[in-house]
Amino acid sequence: MKILKIVTVLLFGGLLIYFTLDFPPWGDPQAPASMHVSPRYIERTIEETSVPNIVTAVLADYRGYDTMFETIVIFTAGIASILLLRVLKRTKSERQMYRHVPTGLTLRIEKGFGPPPGSKDFERIDLMWVPYDLIVKTGSRLIVPFSQIFALYVIAHGHHSPGGGFQGGVILGASIILFAISNNLRSSFTLISEKLAVLLCGLGVILYAGTGALCMFFGSNFLDYGALSHILGVDPVTARSHGILMVEIGVGICVMAVMVLLYYNLASAGRHDEGL
């Protein structure tokens, strides 16, 4: 059986490598891909959309319909992670661990008991892995705001430099994940709760599709951002660039929320109680 597997892999891998020989060489100007649509994008992007980064213009404007469904794929991934992993039955765990903050003592409390209500001296900690590391906490507290500002820059500056909604959203989500790892899962719920994350997921997709629908409202085609010039008060070419920005913000919100949701569900095995 194992030999059969190896033979299959080698056969299909060999066939794939053999057929790549028929491909045009890398960077060939005579290749079909660089003969038909690419010259038009390269020559006309700046005058049609006023966006210097051609990749962003192709992704969000010329192929905007494609990117909308990519966003919906990510939205679906977030919803699927909830449907597959989320444990909806609320059962309290058998025992819980608390840290007495002034002394640093760790207490194990059996079921039915708890810290005195209203006391701020006790802090709930995870059962499995509970280091109290000042360096990690302080270090991540320094990194998180800067990475969030960088993420916003990546989203907003995607017109001029590499970047855009997907990358910026992932960095924004990663900053929340870093906060969740360095503190604990429960304290990250105070930043973004599960409800808020699900809402933001949908909001991102609605922002994208809504921008497209707004263009239809002004009598253009779906996602033809030139029509936004009626409400933005700029010429249609600049309106395209603004429309791309609106769409990228939608993508960024959706991707950020989905990354956070995926992490919550994976790290806590769907219980949203204790996590990595």
Binding site: P162, G163, Q167, V170, Y263, L266, A267, S268, G275, L276
Partner: protein, 81 residues
């Protein structure tokens, strides 16, 4: 681009890719996969696809490694096969 650097990066990609499926320790496999993604990111950058390189660095090397580590933390660390 200097072709020697490209060749070295491509070799590391191959080694990391094969290592990620051969290794028994799933945490090690996740980290090898992150290294693989990062080297792929370098290759994209060498070929001039800067946007793709950026996506590969943030999604492939960044978040997906964290998600793999979280999944390993919640399941088992060793594979059966």
């Amino acid at each position: 681009m200097i072709w020697q650097i490209e060749l070295i990066v491509l070799l590391i990609v191959l080694i990391c890719g094969i290592g990620a499926i051969m290794v028994k320790d799933l945490l090690g496999a996740a980290i090898l996969f992150g290294a693989y993604s990062f080297m792929m990111c370098l290759l994209w950058a060498i070929m001039g696809a800067v946007d793709v390189a950026f996506t590969e660095a943030s999604v492939g090397a960044g978040v997906s490694t964290v998600l793999f580590v979280a999944a390993v933390f919640r399941t088992s660390r060793r594979t059966k096969d």
